[in-house]
């Protein structure tokens, strides 16, 4: 009975010490691998969440997908290889940042075009206002002015 108790104490102590032991054993290469896992995982969408990466999601599926990312990177695969593995299964949808091919290009080009068009409109309007003589209405189509003129 006492032997069993002693064994239990040893087992509990061993379990309690395990996290510290593994933390102490982490090497610089582990840290590098974890950083790479984080980088790839934050670019992959969690399939069971809404707009969350597998890096940010606490779901069981996301955790398992992170494990796969870690395993594949540790086995020497490149981040692109790992992403390709997931796009093979889930399609382009799994990438949080779509590749700039085909219609996807619009996602990158449209905001720039919108910005340029907006800047041009603002510039033209500013010039027109600046060109107006002082005392003239700042707002074109001023109702009072329209009535008198």
């Amino acid at each position: 009975m006492r032997a069993a108790f002693a064994l239990l104490v040893v087992a509990v102590l061993a379990l309690a010490v395990t996290p510290f032991a593994s933390a102490a054993q982490s090497t610089p290469s582990d840290t590098v691998l974890e950083a790479r896992v984080r980088a790839v995982a934050s670019e992959l969408r969690c399939p069971v969440c809404q707009g969350e990466s597998i890096q940010d999601s606490p779901s069981a599926l996301a955790q398992e997908m992170r494990t796969i990312v870690r395993e594949q990177l540790a086995a020497g695969k490149s981040p692109d290889d790992v992403k390709r593995y997931f796009t093979d299964k889930y399609g382009e949808w799994i990438l949080l940042r779509p590749r700039a091919v085909g219609w996807n290009v619009l996602v990158y080009v449209l905001p720039v075009i919108a910005l340029l068009v907006g800047a041009a409109v603002v510039m033209r309007a500013t010039r027109r206002w600046a060109a107006q003589p002082q005392g003239a209405p700042a707002v074109p189509g001023d109702p009072e002015k329209a009535q008198t003129g």
Partner: protein, 189 residues
């Protein structure tokens, strides 16, 4: 001048409204799967509950390998005991599996993110299941199939390619419609 402005504003508004309207017709949760038409992922999964009709079929503890099912139509259904929609399709799956068991069609229930004990209790509650249930530790096979929820059902042809993927509960009619055209040649005669 005002006409010109109105024309420019309309020119911008029409494509935007068209784009937003198109967006409203789409389900954001629907993922276009690249799997149909492609070779099904390989798997080897441990049986935790034999099918009710298993005469010489796999028993609990056996491993079902995809490679051993070549030449058969394989219907892989992902489910879980916590999944409400899985209740709606269970009877249809069990019935169609029984009807096609002798015609070269193998049904498989893959338990997703769940404990086999809960799965067994659920099947008993539902009144049994004609085909075997397998476990998928770490959801590895689920990820290989590009799963994003349950229930999802994959129908794999005799050539080992995914011929159809269904998201959500299946019906008896849908299963028959999808299985009949791809039955193994011997069984079709």
């Amino acid at each position: 001048m005002n006409w010109r402005r109105a024309a420019i504003a309309t020119g911008f508004a029409i494509p935007l409204v068209a784009l937003f309207s198109y967006g409203m017709t789409r389900d954001p949760r629907e993922i276009p799967s690249p799997l149909p038409g492609r070779a099904a992922p390989d798997f080897a999964l441990e049986v935790f509950r034999a099918g009710d009709d298993a005469r010489d079929g796999p028993s609990p503890g056996d491993t079902i390998k995809f490679a051993d099912l070549r030449g058969k139509v394989v219907v892989v259904n992902f489910w879980a005991s916590w999944c409400l929609a899985c209740r709606d399709e269970h009877e249809a799956l069990s019935r169609v599996a029984r009807a096609y068991a002798d015609r070269g069609v193998q049904f498989l229930g893959v338990l997703y993110s769940d404990r086999p004990a809960s799965g067994m209790a659920w099947i008993s509650d539902m009144g049994g299941q004609s085909y075997p249930s397998v476990r998928d530790p770490g959801s590895r096979t689920a990820i290989e199939f590009g799963l994003y929820g349950v229930p999802e059902t994959f129908i794999i042809g005799t050539d080992g390619r995914v011929s159809y993927k269904h998201i959500g509960p299946v019906t008896e009619q849908l299963l028959i419609e999808k299985i009949e055209p791809i039955l193994p040649p011997v069984a079709a005669q």
